[in-house]
Symmetry: C2
Subunit: 311 residues, 2 copies
Amino acid sequence: MKFELTILGCGSAVPTLQRNSAAQVLNVLERYFLIDCGEGTQQQLRRFQVPYNKINHVFVSHLHGDHFFGLMGLISTFSLQGRRGELHVYGDKRLEEIVTFQLRVMNCKLNYPLVFHSLTREPALIYEDNVVTVRAFPLKHRYDAPVCGFLFAEKERERSVRKDMAEAFRVPVAFMHRLKRGEDFVTPEGEVVANARLTTDPPAARSYAYMTDTLFRERFADYVKGVDLLYHEATYGDEFAALAKETFHSTAGQAARLAQLAGVKHLLLGHFSSRYPDPKPLLEQARAVFPSADLCYDGAVFELTAEKRKV
Amino acid sequence: MKFELTILGCGSAVPTLQRNSAAQVLNVLERYFLIDCGEGTQQQLRRFQVPYNKINHVFVSHLHGDHFFGLMGLISTFSLQGRRGELHVYGDKRLEEIVTFQLRVMNCKLNYPLVFHSLTREPALIYEDNVVTVRAFPLKHRYDAPVCGFLFAEKERERSVRKDMAEAFRVPVAFMHRLKRGEDFVTPEGEVVANARLTTDPPAARSYAYMTDTLFRERFADYVKGVDLLYHEATYGDEFAALAKETFHSTAGQAARLAQLAGVKHLLLGHFSSRYPDPKPLLEQARAVFPSADLCYDGAVFELTAEKRKV
């Protein structure tokens, strides 16, 4: 029942030895979603012991090199290691051009199907299975093409049946799936047993949002309302607000303000400029606005436990 | 007067945590030549404290990903860090297509001139300045395009004038450059003073050859005759000779045999398959054929001192 984020790289345009280029992997009940794929991502996956062969979906926020220069290496390694299953890549449609052009020029035939999904400037549901949905939403960065944030949301689970109570009221097995959906049970004698006596609330559905390189815009909070965990770029401290604006980035204080506006539970800061060997001052600036905040670091793991988030 | 090789990555197709993808940097009297540029090369340059802003020439042996997937990141970082000077890239002409295609798609304007030089299937002098020449020569790998080895050779230096003797024979300053070139000196009285009495031999010109992914072919030894230092790929041990042949690679024993045929002074083995967490057995196989051999490892530095190589 894991819902776990691993930071593979939290640097910005120029990676440092402490912080690799942008990449994260989100494990939602053993589905491994790779979010951005800067240069060196395949090495970071090994370094932090992520079972990277389980990655079937890669989400690329935008076509700045620090967010996708590791994709070719990963695609290539998957093939060399005999992958057979589909790999789905979500990104700017020009990402497909870049990858297919290189594969063609290199005369490289992959062992497995590579499936591209184009992102647009409109909010959209881009992935769904029986336990999770992924939505893309548009941000604003100095880049003449879609720049997307991503929202990963676990689906609501069914209610948990209290075995002891179900037995006591002799609920037939055939009725269990209705019980799980919240129906009351009516005994053969006509007694109505409230569902709440027979079941318990399921763990709350968990959610994670990734807000990549972007200018601060209050309205972006609408895309990530109430998420459990929000990653927001904080390339600069508030002392560089003008520079942040000029380079279409956010400050730590702006990231915190966004978290506050969206009413998220917890905030993670990342994408730190190489001018901050130690980004602690950014954390202080953020916590002054939104106390429930933390810094990313390469290799950091943030888990949302089902228990903690119970309704 | 440095002639120093730093190994940035000595892994093969799939990098491991111990061995990054192919890349090396050769410092010849403060000219920094980058040889191959696998994914993560810019990080390795930082890790091993190479002054990478001094790199003006990048030589890419062939278009397999483990030899060039780091190039886009490096090109991009140079620009972000305000580079102004030309960067020269030597490689398969399709490398230019790959790089320029991506830059165009990303709408990325570099701050500095990027100059491409196409390599062909013919041996060629591809670089020359006042102290060093670089030659490319064709190898054989499973790849329908040029695969090049590179030979870096220091030029012969002028002879060193013995100050005491030049003073004793009152050699005029105007004659010094002729003395350095080996001419005898004739005194005003008509006495011939042999050059050997007035000068000493210069340090020997040093040379390094890089033999990337290739099948073993005896005739390739002709390209690297008598070099001081030869890097030769040794993807496999001799026990995998059939696999080496099938994948157009060399074994450790074949690398040693090549070194022996070429009469080189010292051999370095690299490009080890990920199946060898410890490549020591490959060294033993090589030394059985050619004793003056060593293993590469990421971060290894091999220096050819001018003194040691004196004639």
